[in-house]
Amino acid sequence: MILVKKMLRTARSYKAQFISMIIMMTLGIGVFLGFNMEWKTIEYDVSSFLSDTKYADYRLYSAVGFAEDDFEKIASIEGVTAATRFLTVNLDIKGDSKKALALNVSENYTVSTFTLMDGKEYDENSSGIWLSDKFAAKNGISLGDKMTLEFQGTEIDAEVVGLIKAGEHMICVADSNQVMPDFTTFGYAYISPTKLNDILKDKALKTAADELRGAGLPDDVIGQQAEMLVTDEVLKQTVDKVYAQINLISDLEKTELEDSVSEKLGRTIMVVPKEDHVVYKEAMGEAEEGKAMGSILPVLFLAIAILTMVTTMHRIATKEKTQIGILKALGFKNRTILLHYSFYGLFIGIIGAALGMVLGYFVCKAVMSENGMMGTYFDMPDWTAATPAFCYPVIAGTVLLLALISFLSVRAQLKGTAADALRLYTPKKMKKSLLEKLPFFRKMGFATKWNIRDLMRHKSRFAMTLAGIVGCMILLVGGLGMRDTMAGFLDLLDNGISHYVTKVNIIENTGLKDAGQLIEELDGDWESYSGISIDGDTAVLDIVNNTGGRFSVVDEDNEPIKLRDDGVYLCLRLSSRAKPGEYISFSPYGSEKSYRVKVVGYNRSVMTESITMTDRLADEMGLDYSISAIYTEKSSDEIPASELISGKQDKRQLMDSFGSFVEIMDGMVLILVIAAVILGIVVLYNLGVMSYVERSRELATLKVLGFRNKRIGRLLISQNIWLTVIGIAVGLPAGIGTLQWMISALASEYEMKLMLGPLTYTVSVLLTLGVSLLVGRMVARKNKKIDMVEALKSAE
């Protein structure tokens, strides 16, 4: 009991060291747990939501649609557990050209379903609409409200019967150009297949009536005649054309499924696995990013925490040497003394781990919760935090490691007899280092020599301080650099690539001939993207006509490329496939043909993995393509109505959608900057105090000799400044390297170019210097209180 009291009192006398060790442990465990919980929570919550809503493993696309026969054949493939014909199409909301919805129909509702948040359960015969609850909330829409959607001149009226969340739209973006969901302008909805049939029937009747009216039939017979023209067979064909997608759940490998589908249908079909679908790809990409972040930052924190513990416990044990000797002389067994001191490490470990677990939970929640950073990105109902199983043994192991560090530090002091233990700890003797042999060393001032030798004498303290400053720099450069890189990426997208005002999306299967007039009217450039297979991997073939300069294709250095007509450009992610001058083969989905083409360069693709070529080359090669989008300088309101237009996207609106993405980034950067400053202050203060304590006798001697407090303070601060300068010199490239590594980790999603603005360099360097100077001053102030008489009594 008395030993426990002693322990608490000792802890109080080393409060700066104890508090800093607890903070380091808390930060180490907190960041480690928080980042690892973040990716695990993504994996766990996303997987359970996707499983609940029967998210499809594969999506099969056919430009001509899937007939019921095709569907039956595919559904009967062995290994396909469930399948549905599926429709997803972007529609405008009537009266507001800036708002749109992805309207979905899952024909037999066994795949790609939704979770009901409020309202009526799904009913395949209902005439109502199930609307995204977030879109409803953002746009003030309630259950029972009526909505009117517009599609190619057809109006769809429906009553909102349910508010939902759907796995297929967990990341709700209009197309691959949109990075962040924005529920004020874009959401999603489901209708029943019966409702779809009714809409298509109405549309077919209307079209037939228009044709009959055009043929001069009197109005009173048009209705009846139209009914006769729109037979069940006609309607069935229309429906078959609309279902351009089959979603299915299957454990089959992609190639197995592709082969089976080709065999059953007698033609190749574009098969997209969930790994290539925006929701799964992005969510798992986030989890991978989390793993990447979780494997570098926490390791940094934890390593520094443990190393700080080693240094500090060693110093405490040496300071406690006489007390250890007294206990030994009094008759306490070595085992009791070892246990007593090991408890210090255990005590710090347990408190630090407990606080770290709380911090970790909040770090995870700051990212993964409905109101957290990912709340705007993922739209899912459950945000239960999950922890990877390996975290528990790591935390327990760290606590035990701290106890072991204490144990070993004290064991070293217990060696020999009680009389040996009672002797004061003598620091290492000074030896001449290699540095002293250098000619310039002799010319240095006494303060410089003193500091250099002090660092050489206390190498572990030197290394730890350096590690703290380098860590601080890595966090600052990494965090701020990530922001710069993202800002550069957005700037490239906004000013380097997109020179249009509106992107006009064109309905599928519109050839250049059909779209020609519209392209002329809009004075636009155009682009065609379609799925291709490169050695079995899916990519996008991007056929480009940008002669009007409405958009640019850029190279690795973000400079616009004047596209050549004698070959294709591979995006950077595909650059390993072929070097410029080499040939690459690809095969368009839905075609048996394979094309071999020369690679003439690489381009930076801001979104999908793609091969880019000019329309002239495509024509030369005899490729069959359709226009996907027209880029124009006209605003949305100036664009004439056309049946060819499936949607319009304002460039400003697109860039604004990055706003919340940047907010997430800012949040992460803030966490990193705060962590960097705390890390810097804690490590430097702890080691600064240690340095001060170790040198107190020398400082007292200087004071006795007549050195003023200010001069001695300068001596202490100058050591800090040197270490900081060395730390910055090492930390800056290390930070850039870490950033480059992080960007490579993100490479599967984006082709970003590392960018560091002058402000990042300035802020990182000044903040690190500032932290060092602040801590240096805090420690130097202690100098005033140094007891000259007391410090001079003991022997070195």
Partner: protein, 233 residues
């Protein structure tokens, strides 16, 4: 002519309600160039007296005048300057800076003293020119104390203050160090004040001040002090 003057100097240490008078209304004066020994048992107040004279501490009552300056009223920085210019210290445990070489330890004081002597010359006089580039930990105790004396003298102070300068040395080395200390002080014309509980050292002094329980018991001037060789150790 008196170089040091203590007038009714008291130093009181307080710990809660408890009060300890380490020095109680002490008055004396010392003449320039004398070798003074302050003698007394442990806890007598002799180190407190030395600390006050050295400007390491300030009295609670009374005045201390050194060369006409009242040092009891000086600020921290003024006291630092006083220590830098007027007094040299020699300690029982040498208190050399372990990370500076022999030469650098001595040369160090020339950075703060306006009238410093040549470091190499003084090191030569204490017989350690061969060890200029050695660190203190590479020297014996006696050699370290000789460097400590060289450092104290290098400042060219008015007074040399020594706190048990032979306390950590064997008797043979102690005699050698004392001899050196006296010779050097004589050569440079310094006043030396040694605090000790060693009666033998007192036999060598011009003036012996005996202290007990914070008060001066006697001040004795010795007309024919013994040399270090004559004293039986």
């Amino acid at each position: 002519m008196s170089v040091v003057k203590f007038e009714n100097v008291s130093k009181i240490y307080r710990n809660g309600d408890h009060e300890l008078r380490a020095l109680d209304k002490v008055s004396f004066s010392l003449d320039e160039g004398k070798f003074v020994v302050i003698l007394g048992p442990s806890g007598a107040g002799k180190s407190t007296l030395l600390n006050l004279l050295g400007g390491l501490d300030s009295p609670d009552e009374g005045t201390i005048t050194v060369s006409g300056t009242d040092i009891s009223k000086l600020t921290d920085n003024e006291l630092a300057d006083y220590r830098a210019q007027s007094v040299g210290f020699v300690f029982q445990f040498y208190n050399l800076i372990p990370t500076l070489t022999v030469y650098e330890n001595v040369k160090l004081v020339s950075e703060i003293s306006k009238d410093a002597l040549d470091a190499k010359d003084i090191i030569g006089r204490v017989g350690l020119l061969d060890h200029l580039a050695n660190f203190p930990s590479e020297l014996s105790g006696g050699e370290q104390q000789r460097i400590s004396i060289a450092r104290a003298l290098c400042k060219n102070p008015k007074i040399l203050l020594c706190d048990e300068p032979t306390g950590a040395l064997d008797s043979e080395t102690g005699v050698m160090v004392l001899k050196l200390l006296l010779d050097m002080a004589k050569n440079y014309g310094k006043t030396i004040v040694i605090v000790t509980h060693n009666q033998n050292i007192a036999k060598m002094a011009d003036v012996v001040i005996r202290v007990k329980n914070g008060r001066i018991r006697s001040i004795e001037e010795q007309e024919s002090p013994l040399s270090a060789d004559e004293v039986e150790w």
